[in-house]
């Protein structure tokens, strides 16, 4: 599904070229659950951003579902985001001014879903995460774990094929974190490809494959040993 060939990401400042990612070669098939680990500044988030088409690689090729997407135009990119990818972040990044219901509804608006269909999808999500009673609350009124749940609901409401998670449990304590990881595993079993970035060894093992990144290069790519 994801095919990264010789991906480089660098910034030029003056005469110096700083590499964030160097010669990344990576294949991820559909249905996998991959964890990316590494020390701070290794380039994990950047890699995730490139995978999610939030950022462009400076060199190299990226194919998604056998379509070359390294340099695509704005319109196609928006379509990609609507139909194939959902994001989850460490800081949740919910829109503070909208209610839980509206936050979950947002991606569906961009898909052009009709109002009645939207309502049923959102209701479904709320039900699944046991948040029906909270649907009119604002993010500021929810706990960290609940906010992340909303974020996940938002991310999967549009039935994406790929879920990209950047330290999803970073702001949660271990119990909440475990809940989230269980959830992600369940989603993966249902067929969604998941790539997560994490610092936590224990949570990384929820993934079936662990890729370690150091100084912008892949140092290991192994199956998880349970």
């Amino acid at each position: 599904m994801i095919s990264l060939k010789d991906i480089d990401k660098y910034y030029d400042a003056g005469f110096q070229r700083t590499f964030i990612l160097k010669s990344i070669n990576l294949e991820i098939a559909e249905g996998e659950f991959v964890s990316i680990m590494g020390p701070s500044g290794a380039g994990k988030s950047t890699l995730l951003n490139i995978m999610g088409l939030l950022d462009e690689p400076s060199a190299g090729d990226y194919s998604f579902m056998d379509q070359p997407v390294s340099k695509i135009n704005e319109k196609k990119r928006a379509e990609f985001h609507r139909n194939f990818v959902g994001f989850i972040f460490q800081a949740f990044h919910l829109i503070e001014e909208m209610t839980v219901y509206e936050n979950i509804e947002t991606p569906l608006l961009y898909k052009g879903m009709k109002s009645s269909l939207r309502q049923s999808v959102v209701a479904d999500m709320l039900d699944r995460f046991h948040m029906v009673a909270k649907k009119n609350l604002f993010p500021a009124q929810l706990s960290g774990g609940q906010q992340q749940l909303v974020a996940i609901a938002r991310a999967i409401a549009g039935s994406p094929k790929l879920l990209l998670a950047d330290e999803p449990t970073g702001n949660l304590h271990s119990d909440q974190g475990k809940e989230i990881m269980e959830l992600l595993q369940k989603l993966n079993n249902e067929g969604i490809t998941i790539v997560q970035v994490t610092h936590n060894e224990e949570f990384a093992r929820y993934g079936k494959r662990i890729i370690r990144l150091t100084d912008g290069m892949i140092t290991s790519d192994l199956e998880t040993v349970k």
Binding site: L54, E56, R82, F87, A91, Y110
Partner: protein, 783 residues
């Protein structure tokens, strides 16, 4: 579509400070702009209500050596031209005689006989053919066909006879009786005809007779031409016409003569080529254009505010914009949401502005510009303003919108290149400050000039001078009247003259040694010059009680210089016995023109009596004089005015300009302050984290405040450097309208710069003090 609006409304509601400030700023600016536009439009469309407007011209004459034209022509000119030149369809005389010769009007009303002074004009039956009058009563086909007929305005009809149809009623004008033939609906404010009463020019009598002769250039005239007539060719034809050539030549061999010109109706209001006369209600074009400039400036300042606020709130918005983009919203979608926000704001502001401007116009327009602007009648203008505002909104949000949505959609938590942002913002702030500085400087100058004109020595003593009208009863018994008045202790002295400074004047042409000399010209008695304190610099004043002296002239320096007159020269019926220091008999806008007093032997030449009062017991003096007046002429209502008040009215135009410019400067300063306030607030907000960190590292509150204020001082300094030359240029041009001007001092600029700096520093200091004294813990809580 619906969602974009929903998002837009949500965004507007979520930043109440920005929305509120923008709303106030934009509404204020729109109010100012709408009023200015209406005013300018109205001024440019004077007399356009006439259905024949494009084919009507006013005849004017320009003598050789005259810098301006005169509207006063020989009576038969128009008719002659019509007969000789096929392109001219009709001509008419319109003489606003009420400005020269005040006459008592009387009529029978249900309450009995009413007497009063009214403004009136003389004309002929062609007037209603050429100009559009909307008749509501009476003979509408040709109302002034019969002699001794009059047409009156609706307001006057209502005043005199209530709501009934007054046609057929009698109006006594002095000694003549006129019959009301028709009533016309009040003419729009922007019309060259001001008189509510228009009388048919009598065939007999002094005025009527003089109208038929080629000796009295008293009569303003208008012509109606065939459509498609070329103005230049028409002018040539007129001047080549033989009768005109002979009558308007002033030299023996006809080589030197005046030229006739035709002025299109639509140019009458704004032209400045015509000598001041009651026919002309002039507003220099420069003023109108300046006002338009000020209106546009205010609008610009409000727009700059908006852009400033928008760019300042970008950091906050970027996050939610990035999130939306991540979930597949396209750039165009987000841009349209931002556009919807802006356009909604602009729409609401413009609608609010239209409503508020309506009330401002109703309440204040009369005092400030002298008439209430026609408001909803100009609905096309209002509608274009609303549409224009939407268009403006779309353009204004373009920069912030594209900036927000540019680049890749990853969540930009770290700020983009702050250097670029600040520079653009710096440019906007500088423009804002510069506009404020310029406007304040211009206002100060206008105030200075008006004060200067009101206080400057005009060359005679205007204070304590009461002016009353002469009439035939007083003329008959003048010496007893004079003695009666002198018996009042407050009356110092009195003298007679044809008119007084600031009132309608007459010109006369003398043929002196073959040269045609035209000048302004007054009859006076032998002690008027002493009474008013004119200073004679050469020759002598009039000898008192001298028969031989009668008919002699005393002219002003300009006349002597321009026409080369020397003492003893024979002019007209007398000789030149003295030369006066130039004095201002019209407003200080105009250069002094050639002028002469002539000593009249008979008091029928005089229309006014000027009475010098000592400062004490003025009201008692007025009572005394009033009683004496009524005693001598019981049929005439007593009216008077004080010369200095009257002269102040000459500067009514400048006063209006002053009030208008000051009002608008005030408005623009408010809008600027809003902008500066907003800027400083956002600046401090965006530096919250930095301030917190600095404080944690030991910075004192004062140091933090200095850091924030420094930027603003720099911006104000730059704006000062930019604004001053521009303001200087504009101010110089404006002063060029006046023959007598005040000085353009440096302190004007200094004051405006300091005021602006003060405003900036106060707002920034307040905001920065708040930001600096906040607990660092709170500032550092973000992310």
């Amino acid at each position: 579509m619906k969602h974009r609006i929903r998002f837009a409304v949500m965004n507007l509601k979520n930043s109440p400070l920005t929305t509120g400030l923008n709303l106030i700023g934009l509404t204020t600016a729109f109010i100012a702009f709408i009023l200015v536009i209406l005013y300018v439009w109205n001024e440019h469309h004077f007399d356009c209500y006439n259905r024949n407007a494009n084919e009507i011209y006013r005849l004017e004459t320009k003598g050789p050596g005259d810098s301006k034209t005169s509207v006063f022509l020989f009576g038969p000119t128009g008719e002659t031209l019509k007969n000789e030149i096929p392109e001219i369809v009709a001509s008419t005389i319109y003489l606003p005689w009420g400005k020269w010769d005040q006459v008592t009007f009387s009529w029978e009303s249900p309450q009995g006989e009413v007497k009063s002074y009214e403004d009136y004009a003389y004309s002929d039956e062609k007037l209603t053919e050429i100009f559009s009058f909307d008749f509501i009563h009476g003979n509408t086909a040709n109302p002034l066909a019969m002699p001794q007929t009059a047409i009156i305005s609706e307001s006057f009809a209502r005043k005199a006879w209530g709501k009934n149809d007054p046609t057929g009623r009698q109006l006594t004008v002095g000694k003549s009786v006129f019959t009301i033939a028709a009533v016309f609906a009040d003419l729009p404010e922007n019309s060259v005809f001001e008189s509510p009463i228009i009388l048919k020019l009598p065939a007999n009598g002094s005025l009527g007779e003089s109208a038929k002769q080629w000796d009295y250039s008293n009569f303003p005239q208008f012509i109606l031409v065939k459509s498609g007539t070329n103005q230049k060719q028409l002018t040539e034809k007129i001047n080549n016409q033989s009768i005109v050539q002979s009558k308007y030549s002033f030299s023996n061999n006809g080589a030197v003569s005046s030229r006739l010109i035709v002025r299109p109706l639509r140019d009458l209001r704004l032209t400045d080529e015509v000598s001041d006369s009651p026919m002309r209600n002039s507003k220099p074009r420069t003023f109108i254009n300046t006002l338009l400039g000020v209106g546009v400036l205010i609008l610009l300042v409000a727009l700059i505010n908006y852009i400033n606020f928008a760019t300042a709130s970008i950091p906050r918005r970027i996050k939610s914009i990035s999130i939306n983009r991540m979930f597949g919203s396209s750039r165009s979608y987000l841009i349209t949401v931002i556009m919807a926000e802006t356009m909604m704001l602009f729409l609401i502001s413009s609608l609010l502005a239209i409503s508020i401007a309506y009330y401002v116009n109703k309440q204040f327009a009369q005092q400030v510009i002298g008439y209430v602007l026609p408001y909803f009648q100009n609905y096309p203008l209002l509608i274009s303003c609303v549409i224009g505002s939407l268009f403006l909104g779309a353009i204004t949000c373009l920069y912030p919108a594209t900036y927000c949505t540019a680049g890749k959609p990853m969540i930009k938590l770290k700020s983009f290149n702050t250097k670029n942002k600040v520079n653009f913002r710096g440019v906007l702030s500088v423009s804002q400050f510069a506009a404020t500085i310029a406007l304040i400087a211009v206002s100060i100058l206008v105030i200075k000039q008006v004060r200067f004109m009101q206080e400057t020595n005009l060359g005679f003593m205007k204070d304590g001078t009461m002016v009353i009208r002469m009439n035939k009863d007083i003329r008959k018994n003048y010496s007893s009247f004079e003695n009666k008045l002198k018996s009042c202790p407050s009356v110092k002295d009195l003298a007679c003259s044809r008119t007084v400074p600031g009132q309608a004047l007459e010109m006369h042409s003398f043929n002196v040694e073959g040269k045609n000399c035209r000048l302004w010209y007054w009859a006076v008695d032998d002690h008027y010059i002493d009474l008013m304190g004119f200073s004679i610099i050469k020759g002598r004043n009039y000898l008192k009680n001298s028969e031989a002296e009668k008919g002699n002239l005393i002219c002003n320096e300009t006349a002597a210089r321009q026409y080369g007159w020397k003492l003893g020269a024979k002019i007209g019926d007398g000789e030149l016995v003295g030369i006066l220091k130039d004095f201002n008999f019209v407003s200080l806008r105009e250069k002094v023109e050639p002028f002469a007093f002539w000593l009249s032997g008979s008091n029928t030449s005089f229309n006014t009596i000027s009475i010098k009062l000592s400062g004490d017991n003025v009201s008692q003096a007025i009572d005394f004089i009033g009683k004496a007046y009524t005693e001598f002429c019981p049929d005439t209502p007593f009216s008077y005015f004080f010369l200095d008040d009257h002269l102040k009215m000459l500067y009514s135009k400048e006063n209006q300009q002053l009030k208008l410019i000051t009002a608008f400067s005030f408005l623009s300063v408010i809008v600027s302050i809003l902008g500066i306030f907003g800027l400083s607030t956002f600046l401090c907000l965006s530096k919250t984290k930095e301030i917190g960190i600095r404080k944690v590292n030991g910075a004192k509150v004062a140091e933090v405040m200095v850091m924030l204020n420094k930027d603003f001082i720099k911006w104000v300094a730059i704006s000062f450097v930019i604004a001053s030359p521009v303001a200087f240029f504009i101010m110089n041009k404006w002063l060029g309208n006046f023959a007598y001007k005040t000085h353009l001092n440096g302190w004007i600029f200094a004051v405006s710069g300091l005021v602006t700096l003060g405003i900036a520093l106060t707002t920034v200091s307040w905001q920065s003090w708040r930001a600096a004294t906040r607990n660092p813990v709170e500032s550092l809580r973000y992310e």
